[in-house]
């Protein structure tokens, strides 16, 4: 038992933090927001130069064979800059193929997903009809679906890979509040799917890594909201004093930190339980996703409030955090749903 990052993990975290802080600037993110929601240069550099695209994928398929703890440190760093990259889809589709795909599927797709050559996304599709692997149905609110090359469809009856350029696939991009991760509708009309042999392993790996990704992004984002507000509190003077000297202001900063430290415990607890395959992993994941998302939203909202008028302007970055936080709250099930799962567990009602 040692609940601290190892030296190697701390090095990965530092490298990632430095990479995103240097490269994922506000100007570049805003450029991506005005286009299709992807900072392509950042994505290429992340996957290829930094080589983190396949962090938790097997080595023989272009990965680094590390775990969710390492991935969480990286997602945290990306979240801290509200980076416009399709990290969520890469993590979900990549881990799903690694967990439930055939060797041929792994060889065909994983190296290209890890290198960023292909943008992969994952979506649940509740009313999917599969007729001899010809898929018909509608996937709503697919994160970065607008730029996807390959779609992992998860449905009650299985999991399939669908190439978005194939016949029968229509992608409708939507104007999305969080422009760093636009949502799209993907309609399948007898589109050809390649089934993954172990759909349930794929679905659960996708879910685990998706929840970790969002929770860690939320943690990084929340910490960035606090850090930036702390910096502002020191420089902004009113009534002849730095505004950070007022208790009403200070106490709100302290409350942000209290939540963030809990979110940090939640994220790394959850990541450890997935890596160690321990029995409380479902509980930890529900806790991490719901708690970190709520923490991020609170901190981003407080960031706007504590910056005053400037925090409400388009020019200031506060709204990037605020909108990302709102989007994370709903993505991959909202907080109430996660807490209801926890309630059912502790009340002894779980299936």
């Amino acid at each position: 038992m040692d609940f601290a990052l190892t030296d190697e993990q701390a090095m990965i975290a530092d490298t990632a933090r430095q990479f995103f802080a240097e490269n994922s600037t506000s100007a570049r993110t805003r450029g991506a927001m005005a286009a299709d929601g992807v900072d392509r240069d950042l994505w290429r550099a992340y996957c290829q130069e930094l080589g983190f695209g396949g962090l938790s994928l097997p080595e023989e398929f272009g990965g680094a064979a590390l775990g969710m703890v390492e991935f969480a440190t990286v997602a945290e760093a990306a979240g801290a800059q509200v980076s416009a990259i399709p990290l969520l889809g890469q993590a979900m589709a990549g881990s799903a193929i690694a967990a439930g795909g055939s060797d041929a599927q792994k060889g065909e797709w994983l190296p290209r997903i890890a290198s960023g050559e292909l943008i992969a996304v994952a979506a649940e599709c509740a009313d999917l009809k599969a007729d001899d692997d010809m898929l018909t149905g509608r996937c709503d609110f697919v994160a970065h679906g607008n730029v996807a090359d390959i779609l992992l469809v998860i449905a009650p009856g299985g999991a399939w890979l669908v190439e978005t350029g194939a016949k029968g696939v229509t992608v409708e991009a939507h104007l999305t509040m969080d422009q760093t991760r636009p949502l799209a509708t993907i309609i399948l009309d007898r589109a050809a799917g390649t089934p993954l042999p172990d759909a349930s392993a794929a679905a659960s790996a996708a879910q685990d890594s998706g929840w970790i990704c969002l929770a860690a992004e939320a943690l990084g984002g929340a910490q960035a909201c606090l850090d930036r507000t702390v910096a502002y509190a020191k420089e902004r003077v009113q009534f002849g004093r730095a505004i950070g000297s007022f208790q009403a202001y200070k106490h709100r900063l302290a409350d942000m930190m209290v939540e963030i430290e809990q979110a940090r415990s939640a994220v790394y607890w959850a990541a450890c339980t997935v890596d160690e395959q321990s029995g409380d992993s479902a509980l930890a994941l529900h806790a991490a996703k719901s708690f970190a998302a709520d923490t991020y939203f609170k901190c981003a909202g407080d960031m706007i409030q504590l910056h005053g008028g400037i925090g409400f302007t388009w020019e200031h970055d506060a709204h990037l955090f605020f909108k990302r936080a709102r989007s994370i709250q709903t993505l991959l099930k909202n907080g109430n749903w996660h807490r209801e799962q926890v309630a059912a567990m502790i009340l002894g009602e779980a299936a």
Partner: protein, 392 residues
């Protein structure tokens, strides 16, 4: 980063559990499940001695002073098993968790030899004399005076909120030893025997009907000249060092007590049907999640060898658990409904959950109020300007 325990550690857990369960089923079954600080105090002093006799009293201390030099993981395991087995809290927790570590860190070899084995053995029960009527949140403005007369310190003044003073043998106090000094300067940290004519203890009745803390009056109270920790005038430094020990492994044992409380609420919710209320379900889940985050927060705090990094985070722990427990008390009453407002005896006696509801209002006050905690977090962890001081 690793959360699992090794085979050897799991074996140690089994050893702890065996011994504790055996005690609670045997010789000490009469104290099993007690949740208040003071009930059956005499029997619990015997329990302290039993722990010491089997070297389970202060396992993290060096062997030389009655400990086992246990690793962090072992201390975590013991704290968890202790609470799981339904063993009541340590009546000498102030001695074991505060006085002991303070003496270990700041005391002389002679003081260590004199106090540590007796603290570990439950022979010397300690209480803490910090707060005064006019020095609560503003602890540095203590007025209790100490002056050196020949080979003795003579102490005059009043302390308040001294938990467990009525069952303690010794008290540590911070007193002003430099005439005319103000604030944190000129204070001295003294250890005094309670059973003497100059010390008078009067219990204070609390909102839950109990009386666990006291007013303590010092009228020419005395202790030997070498009863001080550190040097004269270093009292504030020692007191602040002591308060840092509050965030040690003992927090994990405290959390296991919280676990029992939450389990009781969950059982009550199932029994009376409130478990079908979606809002209650959300709050139960939040409480469950919050409890786990407390555990992993404490493990993170204890695991991190880079203390410069973790100190800021450690400052958030008090407000975290105190606020969590206050909400838990409110949740308990919402689950119980009006049944929670009915006492169990003529003497203003309460079942665990209504008592939790009342008692938890103290959690966000003692040991530094939530407001003071927020100041500390903002100033020390986030670097905000300090509160301006008024003129005394």
């Amino acid at each position: 980063m690793k959360l699992g325990f090794s085979k050897a550690e799991e074996d140690f857990r089994a050893e702890c559990a065996d011994w504790l369960d055996g005690q609670m089923a045997g010789e000490f079954s009469d104290i099993k499940g007690i949740t208040t600080l003071t009930a059956k105090a005499e029997r619990r002093k015997e329990w302290e001695q039993q722990l010491a006799a089997h070297k389970w009293s202060c396992i993290g201390w060096p062997e030389k002073w009655g400990g086992r030099g246990a690793t962090l993981a072992q201390q975590v395991i013991f704290a968890e098993e202790y609470a799981r087995a339904g063993v009541p809290g340590r009546v000498n927790h102030i001695g074991i968790e505060l006085a002991g570590p303070t003496i270990l860190t700041f005391g002389t070899e002679e003081q260590k030899a004199r106090f540590l084995p007796d603290i570990a053995a439950g022979k010397t029960i300690f209480c803490q004399g910090f707060s005064e009527p006019n020095a609560g949140s503003d602890l540095a403005s203590v007025r209790t005076k100490a002056r050196l007369e020949g080979d003795e310190w003579v102490v005059n003044g009043q302390k308040i909120w001294t938990s467990l003073a009525h069952i303690s043998d010794w008290i540590f106090v911070i007193a002003r030893s430099e005439e005319g000094s103000q604030g944190p300067k000129g204070l001295t940290f003294l250890m005094m025997e309670i059973d003497q004519p100059g010390i008078d203890i009067r219990p204070i009745e609390q909102i839950n009907g109990d009386a666990e803390f006291n007013e303590t009056f010092f009228t020419d109270a005395r202790c030997a000249a070498d009863s001080l920790i550190g040097a004269p005038g270093e009292g504030w430094k020692i007191a602040m060092g002591l308060l840092a020990f509050e965030r040690g492994v003992s927090t994990l044992g405290q959390q296991m007590g919280f676990r029992n409380e939450l389990d009781e609420i969950i059982a009550a919710a199932r029994a009376n049907g409130s478990a079908s209320d979606p809002l209650i379900r959300q709050r139960l889940a939040k409480a469950e999640i919050g409890l786990h985050l407390m555990r992993y927060g404490a493990l993170r705090m204890l695991s991190n060898s880079d203390h410069s990094k973790v100190d800021g985070a450690a400052l958030t722990y008090k407000i975290q658990w105190a606020s969590w427990r206050r909400s838990l008390g409110e949740l308990a009453m919402d689950v119980l409904g009006q049944a929670g407002e009915i006492g169990t005896g003529p003497d203003y006696e309460w079942d665990t959950l209504p008592n939790l509801f009342l008692y938890s209002r103290a959690d966000t006050i003692y040991g530094g109020t939530n407001q003071i905690q927020r100041n500390m977090i903002a100033e020390r962890a986030l670097g905000m300007p300090r509160e301006p001081r008024g003129v005394a």
